[in-house]
Symmetry: C2
Subunit: 464 residues, 2 copies
């Protein structure tokens, strides 16, 4: 089967399914999403094995990720069945002649979803974009990540079975992978986004990948929205009170080291830059955290390519305090870079995947200006002593800059661990994402794939 | 003063104002919007005169439009002061460690607004884009329409005074016009959209103009959202019951003729295509409406260029039933085109500004397929006999196709007259607009210029 036949088949089936699936009641969509969750649950041991073999993530992490993913599918189904995704605006008697105006919400049509490699489930084939598009009433055509061929295919089989079992039209769930590409996965991606049948795009991945999809979508005869989450450095600002005593330094050194090294530092919310006070206390925190990061030992990374990129970043920074030892070609050696604020330039402001972070010694009075100098971020974090008036005052001065730069601001926590809840905003200004008004995590993600329609005087019994 | 100095000054002032004005309380923004409304009100007689001289719209229409515009400014101010523009999502205890997650909303920054010519107030310099951006906390840089130089400048003076009087930073309201262009208004527009300071764009106008701004915005190093409303043909579907008796035919012939000829047919919601049953009743309705449209006599159009385009469209259709008489070069002669469904192709599916419409004789059983064949629309309308089971049944079959194509569906009314209310959706799928999720009329328009930020565990007393 040639590449174009495969792509064309998948999108033609999605187009054919759009009207029928789009007219499904919210209750039926809920049942379909629950069926997908049940099917993944039933295949859990097999999926953990496949994922472990292709990602090198720990079985414990992968097992937890399946739980998160099935919970997400069920939550989004429950959310639409409860009508909580609806715009629900009403203006009684407001139109000329006194007619009521009220909104209904309609699905956009077939959505192209690009699976990320770092969360093979939660942002993979069965992940948040797939779940929110299906919840919205949109068929999906999912491109599996080329680094996870076997897992992606097996998940696609499991979901296809669940979707068919729920009675959805063929084409409601479509899947493409590297075998559909004639060897060029980028061409497949661009052709998918260019296909006139596709009405929206969900993507989590690199800046270069996201930008290429955006450019292709914007150049179409009919431009379509691209919801691309492209990552960030997730700055953390440590205020003096938080590290004024040993207990605070110990606590935050451990928390930061865990956030930097967990999942091999391959999370879009990994704290990639940590501003610490240029004091003995700040130095001690950075020392402790750096030591714990280094102490985590070699961590197998998602791909040999990511490990190589991490190694290059490590080598560039040897002179600045990177530490490590020889390792397997797929291993990433955790390290911490230590610089002063005047050296916080260029590369240090860009996201690097892998178990490493940059500690920047700075005067806390300069934190707002440093924050203002950053690009758009998924998250920004303040670590402070809740009981310290000085910290609270400094935080009050810093918060406007963080709110202006980030999609989420964390207080006394770490940015990793994104709760899948209604108030979550996993988004943020360019270049963190392509559409700062939207979120790719949480129930609000569903709204990316619907649009409101105002009905003016239309008798309610004639509608859906 | 050279063109670039003027552009650069306006955007630099907007950038300087963004932080200060963006931090204003909603109450202060309300007061500013009310002050703008009051200032327009105080200048009303002078503004009507200026607008009448440059647009040739009737004084009565212009007077009413000022009332709509001042009401809009006040409504948007009241809306934000009441906090109704906020996303307001809360997930108590939902984050890791039990922290609360809740959203706040922040302005995007300076917004470029392009004034339309057909509503010199409501979509002009003081129009919906300006009002919603200012309500959102964003400075605006407004480009006046080149056909309304004197009016635009005077409105800009009035608003600048009101904004300064309200104590807003200089640059909160900026204005550019053809004098800033070195003779090329298109270049000014593109350069404004390309300017790195600008964070979003509001536009109402032609498809070509909107697409050019979208392309420029998408090609920036930092792409920005463009909210472009580019018009549509606003199909009307007349069901048999509505024209089964003379009273119905009289009523709808008058309503349609008024909607086609009002404001010289220069409304983005003008019904440009009316599907009528291919029966004697349907013919009679079209005859009556066409006669009333033709009987409206010559109508001065917004510009000589629009009148010339309208005349070309009229001449192309002489063979198909257009009627009229010689007229002043700026006059538009109202006319109706009569075709059968098989001839409903090409040009007839595209928007034509001016007092003309196309009656398409069709079998009502074919209405859903005809609707499916249309491009995206701002509006779609059904005219039916409320008491007729046959009409209700036909409407039920037709509505899904209309909801899938339009931003607003009207029942037993005409699409002109867009209520400025919370439930209004003045939007719709491509090519009617660039962002089908958004609306350019109604209080939801404000949300285009803010983005939500999730706060995780952040003590409420430290924020804003």
């Amino acid at each position: 089967m040639t590449y174009h036949t495969t792509l064309d088949r998948a999108v033609a089936a999605a187009a054919a399914a759009a009207g029928g699936y789009g007219a499904w009641s919210a209750e039926r969509r809920r049942d379909l999403l629950h069926a997908c969750a049940d099917a993944l649950e039933a295949a859990r041991p097999e999926l953990v094995d496949l994922a472990w073999a292709e990602t090198a993530l720990t079985r414990e992490r992968l097992d937890g990720e399946i739980t998160r993913t099935t919970g997400q599918l069920r939550l989004y189904g429950d959310h639409v069945a409860a009508g909580r995704h609806l715009s629900g605006r009403t203006s009684p008697g407001a139109a000329p002649g006194g007619a009521d105006v009220y909104t209904v919400d309609v699905p956009l049509g077939p959505v192209a979803v690009f699976a990320a490699s770092n969360f093979p489930f939660a942002f993979g084939v069965p992940g948040g974009d797939t779940a929110s598009a299906l919840a919205a009433g949109c068929p999906v055509v999912v491109k599996g990540h080329p680094a996870q061929l076997r897992l992606s295919r097996r998940i696609a089989e499991v979901l296809s079975g669940a979707v068919a079992g729920a009675g959805a039209p063929e084409g409601t769930f479509g899947f493409l992978d590297a075998e559909s590409t004639d060897g060029d996965p980028n061409k497949l991606s661009i052709d998918l986004v260019r296909h006139p049948v596709i009405k929206a795009v969900g993507f989590t991945g690199s800046f270069g990948g996201g930008r290429a999809l955006m450019d292709a979508a914007a150049a179409r005869p009919e431009p379509i929205p691209v919801y691309a989450e492209m990552g960030s450095v997730n700055p953390v600002f440590v205020l003096p009170g938080a590290v004024a005593d040993e207990a605070g330094r110990e606590k935050w050194a451990t928390a930061l080291a865990t956030a930097v090294t967990g999942s091999g530092g391959q999370l879009c919310t990994k704290p990639g830059v940590v501003f610490v006070p240029e004091t003995d206390d700040g130095e001690t925190l950075a020392d402790l955290a750096a030591s714990r990061i280094g102490g985590a030992g070699p961590i197998p990374m998602l791909t040999a390519g990511m490990a190589a990129a991490h190694r290059r970043w490590s080598e560039q920074n040897q002179a600045r305090g990177a530490s490590g030892q020889e390792a397997d070609p797929r291993d990433g050696l955790p390290f911490a870079v230590r610089i002063s604020a005047k050296d916080f330039t260029g590369d240090y402001r860009e996201e690097h995947f892998g178990p490493a972070t940059v500690f920047v010694q700075a005067d806390p009075a300069d934190y707002p200006a440093l924050a203002d100098s950053l690009e758009g971020q998924l998250t920004a974090t303040i670590i402070a002593d809740d009981a310290s008036d000085a910290d609270r005052s400094a935080a009050r001065a810093l918060l406007p800059s963080l709110v202006a730069k980030a999609g989420r601001v964390v207080w006394n926590g770490v940015p990793t661990g994104v709760a899948v809840v209604e108030a979550m905003q996993h988004g943020g200004p360019w270049p963190a994402t392509s559409a700062a008004w939207s979120t790719s995590v949480g129930t609000e993600a569903i709204r990316r794939f619907t649009r409101p329609v105002a009905l003016q005087g239309v008798p309610a019994d004639l509608v859906g």
